[in-house]
Assembly symmetry: C2
Amino acid sequence: MTHAPVVDVLKGKYAVGEQVTVKGWVRTRRDSKAGLSFVALHDGSCFDPVQVIALNSLSNYQDVQRLTAGCAIAVVGSVKESQGQGQALEIEASTIDVVGWVENPDTYPMAAKRHSIEFLREYAHLRPRTNVIGAVTRVRNCLSQAIHRFFHERGYYWISTPILTASDTEGAGEMFRVSTLDMMNIPRTDKGDVDYSQDFFGKETYLTVSGQLNVETYCNAMSKVYTFGPTFRAENSNTSRHLAEFWMIEPEVAFADLADVAQLAEDMLKYVCKAVLEERADDMAFFAQRINKDVINRLEKLVKSDFVRMDYTDAIEILKASGKQFEFPVDWGVDLSSEHERYLAEEHVGAPIIMQNYPKDIKAFYMRLNDDGKTVAAMDILAPGIGEIIGGSQREERLDVFDERLEKMGLDKEDYSWYRDLRRYGTVPHAGFGLGFERLVAYVTGMQNVRDVIPFPRTPGNASF
Amino acid sequence: MTHAPVVDVLKGKYAVGEQVTVKGWVRTRRDSKAGLSFVALHDGSCFDPVQVIALNSLSNYQDVQRLTAGCAIAVVGSVKESQGQGQALEIEASTIDVVGWVENPDTYPMAAKRHSIEFLREYAHLRPRTNVIGAVTRVRNCLSQAIHRFFHERGYYWISTPILTASDTEGAGEMFRVSTLDMMNIPRTDKGDVDYSQDFFGKETYLTVSGQLNVETYCNAMSKVYTFGPTFRAENSNTSRHLAEFWMIEPEVAFADLADVAQLAEDMLKYVCKAVLEERADDMAFFAQRINKDVINRLEKLVKSDFVRMDYTDAIEILKASGKQFEFPVDWGVDLSSEHERYLAEEHVGAPIIMQNYPKDIKAFYMRLNDDGKTVAAMDILAPGIGEIIGGSQREERLDVFDERLEKMGLDKEDYSWYRDLRRYGTVPHAGFGLGFERLVAYVTGMQNVRDVIPFPRTPGNASF
């Protein structure tokens, strides 16, 4: 492990003339009539490969001339200033060892040509070798590191809320069941129901759809907390924005109201976008060139912009006055659809919007009732170019108001006993939000489909690899 | 959100005489005959609470005298040098607002007294309010941040390998099934089997037991990668070391052999233990005082020690020559049991051991066969006081050797087609390891049971909250 990452060579960490070893995979090979070959060697450490000059004086030059995309090689050579275009430094090889050949270059799925993004999805185990998925991987990592750093610097604790849950409090219809029962021989109770008392956990168990209720318990002790983990929806949605398995970030803050977490969300989005602009300029240049030419520009704008706070009630008026024909009619009380959100964020405001105070009847039971008795302290952040990227709320911390809400919604107090305990013992105003990580990665990179920003996407009918 | 975290007040970020607002929960209250009360206010930002002086001149002093453990309060006051013992700074309150009372202090489960750790487990939603679980939470967070930082600084990318998997390649017997089929009406095929083609993913699907095979695909493109995510075992193990849901860290390195990842593991363990010693001295002092008096000492020793490399074959000789009576007999070819590991790490060496080159028949199919034809390039790290904490190996990168191994083990090549592709297209030596995060947290804090170092433990018969 004494070899040098390509990024270090290209960034000039080694002096011209210095000997280095690099190891990686061949992207391209070009033979010159002058009796030498140019081999682009890639190791994932940055977007660009390093150019290796292979002179025909190499003892295994015949092997070098057989190198194709995907072959693994180890190169010892000296750093040189490059004569060619496109790079400042290159390596003149003194030895090139072929570590691993490509079995049949003609049928190698990742041969050096453009592949459709749908084709790459079929080869999720090989697609990280491509420019586009390599770049996505580095940006995804950058965002994840920046998120942890953002919260850590501000005194937040990462809490790993459970993946397996026996609470179906957020809508069992869209949940995956987890079981070890013998499917060929399901045990039954006397009444004929499934006897989950014989299951691994002694009751019916699901995959979590959100860590929020659980993380509120830690918020009410540690003050500032966040989750960053996988969540699941058994929704039969075959869209470019939905995955059955995706990662969520859910901060939760004690002694905080909706305005506080709206500001936190704005600060966080700016912080992580800035990190990508600063740390992944190489990958972003590629996305701007090949995926969406606006992608750097819109990040720079987001970092500099002031997010616009807007009340739902005002948004309805704006939509009504817009003179636009929307597919879904606009009236106070309706949920905003994607066409409404896009009009507001892209046409009316032209900047991210923090939409606040939605009608209580279209929002979840745990959101705090506003003094008007009609709306709750909920917010969505709508970004131009992608729509809703964050949803959050202040939580109902008043036990009597909470219980009344449960009753009106026909929910059973008993099912929420531990959640209610937080309101019985030293209750405090608190608020939080949820950010779908893949939607963020898609937004930042300009990738159109969340299936291409997670290594192995899970969607209806697909859990390959 | 303009209030100050307690840690900032105690660390002297505010000058004596300066006005601050603090918000949190009451730990204790003590009334003095001199007509004032001392209220210990805790907000989770550090181990210690801040002492608040409440004079009887406060307009709501009667309320102050009713404060009990767990009540939420907001205090405005000025920073003072403390006259009492135990803290350098305190706050003299000008106002104390009671934000949330405790409904019935006599029955509040987290009243200010010592609780057994088993009792606390029954109240997983309230236990972060205790000293011990608060300290565990901060150390757990510190370790998690340090792990991400360690890998990020070294150019590793975090890869989120899938939680849902249709591959049962690591032993389906211990896996949880994930399904949306109607359990009261399981669809059958013509042959009478369960018709998983009607399930959400169109085939039988499980929760992952390891991200390793998946992350190898990214390693073979990006060179240095790691996972940090939840993994699952449907093992009916009711021990202090097993959870059905736990978090794992799995780095994977291209162009690396066993010695390289052994060094990486040693470096990582030292780095994260050092981070805890430096950043969480307050919590570690508590663990040393109340949980295990050796806990700081052994971390300091680990950071300074050189891990001892030892071959399995040599270990067997040492155990045989020890003159010890072991419950499980020692002979070349047997798996080491916990008594053997403890003897070696605690008595024979007295430092962490990196045990290497195990018999191939007791190790997994993907581990690289050594030249002796009998052993594989596998390692376990055994730490005094806890036993095995890391397991890793060099992976078999040679397709012909791999295929032969599959055949001898009666495994079907077809089931490993994408994994085999990595050996067909530019294969390289690579290696990695797995670290069970909860075992690490337990080791660092001295906590005896992994159920107390994860917020909501899942074990056979228990998925509460």
